[in-house]
């Protein structure tokens, strides 16, 4: 009789342990299942998701603790003045033939590309 009771108690104990483990395992899975939605929303969207985006140079420099690479002022001025000339030419071209396409034609200016 004692042996029978011992076996019954051990069985109940084993069932209880299994139930606890099962509950713990399934709670983790449910939690995991609800998380991806949040993760997807937090991730930045990219047109080309498979391509790893290169971090901006300034950001990289900040992480590495170095100064971002600066274009000399003279070179920057030349770039700005070239941009102004290109934009003036584009504007004059639009005024000669005013269309939506010529108004918003793409520029080759390095300042904005």
């Amino acid at each position: 009789m004692e042996m029978f009771l011992m076996a019954a108690v051990m069985s109940l104990l084993a069932v209880a342990v299994c139930a606890v483990l099962f509950a713990a395992a399934t709670r983790d899975e449910r939690g995991e299942a609800s998380r991806p939605v949040v993760r997807a929303a937090r991730e930045p969207q990219h047109f080309f998701a498979s391509t790893p985006a290169a971090p901006p140079r300034a950001e990289t420099a900040a992480k590495e603790g170095t100064e971002p690479e600066l274009v000399p002022v003279e070179a920057l001025l030349l770039r700005i003045e070239q941009h102004i000339r290109l934009e003036q030419a584009a504007a004059e071209s639009f005024l000669h033939h005013p269309t939506g396409e010529s108004l918003h034609s793409r520029t080759t200016s390095r300042l904005v590309n």
Binding site: P44, L70, I80, A90, A91, F94, L95
Partner: protein
Amino acid sequence: MTNVHADLLGGLADEEAERVLALGSRIALSAGQVLFNLGDAADSLFIVESGRVALTLPLKLRDGHQDVLIEERSPGQALGWSALVPPHRFTLKAAAAIDSEVLALPRAALFEHFAAHPEVGYAVTRNVSAVVGQRLQVLQTMWLREMQRVVEIRGVRARSIS
């Protein structure tokens, strides 16, 4: 002003144009010399006789300001039309790009001459209007193109934030 036809005097007979030019005085500028600064009182209109005059605007770059070339004026072209338009303050800086000569036409003398010869005043005003109107249209278009770029950049940023 012998070989140069001033755009400001288009539509005037030669003798009428000569009378207008006689109101001015010649100024010689060495390369880099400033003719007027942004914000200066605009009391004279100028016609480039020789050389080239650069019109610039100050742009804040890093720790200082740099003059950015907006356009250049060549012989025959006028500059400084702020002299004819209130509040008579220059909105650009002008400096000789190379050794140059300009003819300065004082506003007071011009207006007096226009009052006495309204047909001359009408022709000159029409020519000035053409210069001002063309520049306004070009700048308006340039501004719109920049606005379009700002909208596109902000659109991309908004998409990446959401």
